[in-house]
């Protein structure tokens, strides 16, 4: 049985990845999960300088999901390179570094600093709804998206994944723009912008007012967008949004994702990534699927 998948020339042992921001740089979850068993670990977004993130409360539970407005707190690229990359290189899984920034230059500088590092793929978060500048501004306008992709590509030695925002009218258009800019792969979806109001305190449940909605609640939107993107462009797609078990993951794969990422699912069960992987293998066995690549995008 083959579970290897190819993301822009990088061969993952299996299609199961972690979703940026939900898994740190892997250390905490490594108590539960042998990271070597994962297709790839995707790190929390890292920027050129340390970011403090947003005030608390940063999260709120919602029906079948959660809202977060962490605001991309991170130690900055230097400490990250010094500490997190050496940690991750101990494992067999591929390493994907998620990059965030306020300006185009921010992204390019981080990408440049990472270009000599033992990192397999770079994922550009141009879709974070929780920071004022940058982030989502690039992810909601096709021209801006194409431009930043082109710019980042100039500095990158690793293949570039552009992470798309679902908060757009036409995801296919965005997928095409990123592809036109030279993206090597796409990942989607980031969170849907949402809000929760605490009716007793008559105020917002997260301090940032709005936050990003994630978890099983958003899965149907995510599957639809992966399907639309996969049918619009030819580069590989990493699907995510509400994946908790293997059935969820297989929906994304059949819709056209070459790999999948587990995000909020980790909070529900620290073993979620491994459960997803095991379930995919069981499904393949039961249905006599020799190669996972047979079913990528099989539903049309």
């Amino acid at each position: 049985m083959n579970t290897k998948v190819n993301i822009a020339g990088v061969i993952l042992n299996n299609p199961v990845m972690t979703a940026s921001g939900t898994f740190g740089s892997g250390e905490e979850y490594s108590q539960f999960v042998n990271l070597s068993q994962l297709g790839a670990v995707v790190t929390k977004g890292v920027s050129i300088v340390p970011w403090e993130g947003n005030p608390t409360p940063r999260i709120a539970e919602t029906y079948g999901g959660m809202i977060n407005a962490i605001g991309l707190q991170n130690p900055g690229i230097d400490l990250f390179i010094e500490r997190d990359i050496p940690f991750l290189t101990q494992f067999d899984s591929k390493i994907v570094v998620n990059v965030c920034g306020k300006t185009m230059e921010d992204y390019c500088e981080v990408v440049e600093k990472l270009s000599d590092m033992p990192v397999d793929l770079l994922e550009m978060n141009v879709s974070c709804p929780n920071v004022k500048e940058g982030g989502i501004a690039f992810g909601q306008n096709p021209n801006a998206l194409e431009k930043i992709t082109k710019e980042v590509k100039k500095f990158a030695r690793q293949p570039i994944i552009m992470k798309l925002s679902p908060n757009v009218t036409d995801i296919a258009e965005m997928a095409k723009a990123a592809t036109a800019g030279g993206a090597d792969a796409l990942s989607l979806i980031n969170t849907l912008t949402g809000m929760k109001i605490d009716i007793n305190r008559k105020s917002f449940a997260v301090a940032n007012k709005t936050g990003g909605l994630s978890g099983p609640a958003i899965k149907p939107v995510a599957v639809r967008m992966v399907y639309e993107a996969a049918n619009a462009v030819d580069i590989p797609i990493i699907g995510m949004g509400g994946i908790v078990n293997a059935e969820d993951a297989l929906e994304f794969i059949m819709a056209g994702a070459s790999a999948v990422a587990v995000g909020t699912g980790n909070f529900i069960n620290p073993y979620a990534t491994l459960n997803v992987l095991k379930g995919i293998e069981e499904y393949m066995e039961k249905n006599h699927i020799e190669d996972i690549n047979e079913i990528i995008g099989c539903v049309r």
Binding site: Y29, G53, P57, R58, G64, P216, I268
Partner: protein, 256 residues
């Protein structure tokens, strides 16, 4: 790194010890063995519409019987769901989480407010020196008999029906409680008062904080508090309540 476990715990028994306050003993495979006073567990709901675990402090640990006790208040839908569970039912839990209270050989004052009182019980049992406990209740008392067995208990209630009338700091001041170390758990205004009191009196103080959590193990950065020093982890003045906490040196954290 200390071990954390995710298990299916079995409910040994559950009872309502005051209106809306429940005490539950859970049989665990590994958590009880590893647990310390001041740590907490993450309790998952069975209802699929509620995904995130509820952080609940460990109130008592029975290492012989591999059991932990939690005491919680029904605050919303998740704790409401859990309050309906009965003996021999199973509950997904993860733990032990967080750092716990540092056990020091000093004359101690434990200050608890409301649902912040329970985590002090195991602490009081573990302390070796003179132990004074100040507990502030709204109205109804709970765990008071158990605290009496492990230290000198001073009570405050809002209406003054039991102990000092007022809040727990009124009881501390009224009884002029002196100590070399303070451990406190309770609502933020109480913690602020404790911090100030400790500073004034120049007493070492440790505070147990609360914040909304998602992962419970330090990965998601949901639960940070403002800290005096840069956090080694993220290089900014934030610390993770679930990982570097929930117990912090009073001077180390900004309470807001």
């Amino acid at each position: 790194m200390e071990q954390k476990f995710r298990e299916k715990a079995v409910i040994i028994r559950q009872e309502e010890i005051a209106t809306g306050i429940f005490s539950m003993w859970l049989k665990t495979e590994k958590i009880a063995k590893a647990a310390r006073a001041g740590q907490f567990i993450a309790v998952y709901c069975n209802d699929g519409s509620r995904l995130l675990p509820r952080p609940i402090s460990i109130c008592e640990i029975d290492k012989d019987d591999d059991a932990v006790r939690i005491v919680y208040r029904v605050a919303g839908k998740g704790t409401d769901e859990i309050s309906f569970m009965r003996t021999s039912m199973q509950l997904d839990v993860m733990g032990p989480l967080g750092n716990g209270f540092p056990i020091k050989e000093k004359k101690a004052l434990l200050i608890g407010g409301g649902i912040g009182i329970p985590p002090l019980l195991q602490l009081a049992k573990d302390l070796k020196c003179e132990t004074q406990i100040a507990a502030g209740y709204k109205e109804q008392l709970f765990l008071n008999e158990e605290f009496k067995k492990v230290g000198n208990l001073y009570i405050a209630t809002e209406d003054g029906e039991h102990g000092t009338e007022g809040n727990v700091m009124d009881a501390v001041k009224r009884n002029d409680l002196d100590a070399e170390i303070i451990y406190a758990c309770g609502p933020t205004p109480m913690l602020k008062a404790v911090k100030e009191y400790a500073k004034e009196k120049n007493i070492e103080a440790w505070l147990s904080l609360e914040e909304k959590m998602a992962c419970g193990i330090g990965a998601c950065l949901s639960c940070v508090c403002k800290s005096k020093h840069k956090d080694a982890h993220t290089n900014v003045n934030n610390k993770r309540v679930c990982k570097e906490g929930p117990v912090f040196r009073a001077e180390e954290v900004e309470l807001s």
